[in-house]
């Protein structure tokens, strides 16, 4: 790691690269933004923006369960809870007659309320507010390793399941006729989204994590005409807003997660101008 820091400081001789925590955050941004960009393409295509939002909010209950169990780092409790919630929502959605929005709304607000109730006992909620806005600058090397592992897992999932996922997003009967097991693909994707959102929530923050997932893909849809462009443009927008957001947050002294999202919003607005030309 030490060699990496020195190499980076030589290569990027700026004020902000003098701090190891900034270089760690830089690495984290280079891992998290592609991760979110890739998943975001299909979250938007499958109209799952509200679903991923619910998973983000449910992290509060995951943290609360971890605290009740006396865990120092509640990540495992958060993961378990969000995956159970993801499977629960897709099952109810598959069986139920009511609108998915309503079902997700019910699950999500219950999870948020439950989390706040448990965490705010004896007025102690303030110490968890870090989870709300995220703290990218406190990421450690071992946590960067976890993110790397998750990125590799997602890339593997993507190369195997992408075509099936795309067919399901187009029309589920059509997907079935091409031999796709629609339920399995839908649940697998929900679990992957839950996994990625939960692992990154500590760094990005509950309040804005969904924007990071949705904004780059939403902007790319305005410009792209095929799947290849869609992926490339989404990646580009995510990484550019990640880097510029991180650097701006250093000079402005602002929360890095929110600054990154703000940069992505600016790029989304710019993409609207490209829209009329391509369609």
């Amino acid at each position: 790691m030490e060699a990496f820091y020195i190499w980076m400081q030589n290569w990027l001789p700026f004020e902000w690269t003098q701090y190891h925590f900034m270089l760690n955050a830089l690495l984290a941004v280079l891992l998290v933004t592609p991760l979110f960009a890739i998943l975001g393409t299909m979250v938007v295509n499958n109209k799952m923006a509200f679903f991923s939002d619910a998973i983000g909010h449910s992290a509060l209950t995951g943290i609360a369960i971890g605290v009740l169990l006396g865990m120092g780092d509640p990540l495992l409790a958060m993961l378990a809870f969000s995956i159970i919630l993801a499977i629960g929502i897709s099952n109810v959605k598959a069986r139920g007659r009511s609108s998915p929005d309503t079902i997700i709304g019910v699950f999500s607000s219950t999870a948020v309320a439950l989390g706040i109730v448990i965490l705010s006992r004896e007025g102690g909620f303030a110490k968890y507010s870090n989870y709300l806005i995220g703290d990218l600058l406190s990421i450690s090397v071992s946590q960067i390793m976890i993110l790397t592992a998750v990125l590799l897992l997602v890339l593997l999932f993507w190369s195997i399941f992408f075509n099936q996922l795309l067919l399901v997003s187009v029309n589920s009967s059509l997907a079935r006729s091409r031999g796709v097991n629609v339920r399995v693909v839908e649940i697998a994707f929900s679990i992957i989204v839950a996994l990625v959102v939960t692992v990154s929530i500590q760094w990005v923050g509950i309040l804005i994590i969904n924007s990071l997932l949705v904004l780059p893909a939403a902007a790319a849809r305005n410009i792209a005409v095929n799947m290849r462009q869609y992926h490339l443009i989404t990646l580009l927008i995510a990484v550019i807003s990640g880097l510029s957001g991180l650097i701006c947050s250093y000079y402005w002294g602002t929360a890095s997660g929110a600054t990154i999202v703000l940069c992505a919003s600016v790029l989304f607005i710019l993409s609207l101008f490209g829209k009329t030309k391509s369609i």
């Binding site: 109209k47 795309l166 997003s169 029309n171 059509l174 095929n226 369609i279």
Partner: protein, 268 residues
Amino acid sequence: MAYPNGCEKQGNEFCGLCCTKVEHFGVKFGSKEILHDVNLHIHCGELTAVIGPNGAGKSTLLKAILGELKHSGNLNYLDAADQNTGVPVIGYVPQHLDFDLSSPLSVMDLFAAGNSRLPAFAAHSRSLRQKAMESLSRVQAEHLHDQRLGNLSGGELQRVLLALALTPIPDLLLLDEPVSGVDQPGMELFYEMVSDLRRRYDLSIILVSHDLPLMARFADRIVYLDQTVKSSGTPAQVFNDPYVTGVFGRIAVPALPKGQIIDLKDGV
């Protein structure tokens, strides 16, 4: 064709010997019975039109055949040598593609997703491009290969979906109200194409439709479905069935001298 004795392998342009059997199909949603004891025999080279009132279970039947819905009963595919070859290869064209018009999905991406191991966001291989162009040429849609799906007209979209359903050539082709919402010329073009492809590739086709006069023109067999098969046979037979005329009234069957309308209620 996936089976050794399938029509294509017989080298017989019009074999008519392959048969898809739907036996005793039933579908329940909870305690509500949607379909019961549906039996159909579909021969290759034949276009079978499924008609019936709204809520009769027509789309449900197709989804059950696809395996998307749980059902009782069996689906059997018998090849030209009359050997049971099990599950047929099924092509499907949906009712109305419920997709977001802003989705950046090109016609070639759709073919890649349905036919290739490489993910659709990767570069499309030469063999896939060739295969897709060949399929698109069957429905006179080669020129659409790089278009975004959202830029196509309703008729063009359905032709592209038909081309996809015919790659590979299926044992059974299911069309679920394929041209609802398409203008009249687009509709006729589509049915003429389906009719032509049926002869050329000896396809077994099940088509759900509300366009009764068009069905009288293009279908070989008609099945009147209302929870179960209420009437079936040639268009003339079914459209003369008092049960069917009681629901739909009279329908012109063009097998008879042109323009003649049979008043079914008067028994011709």
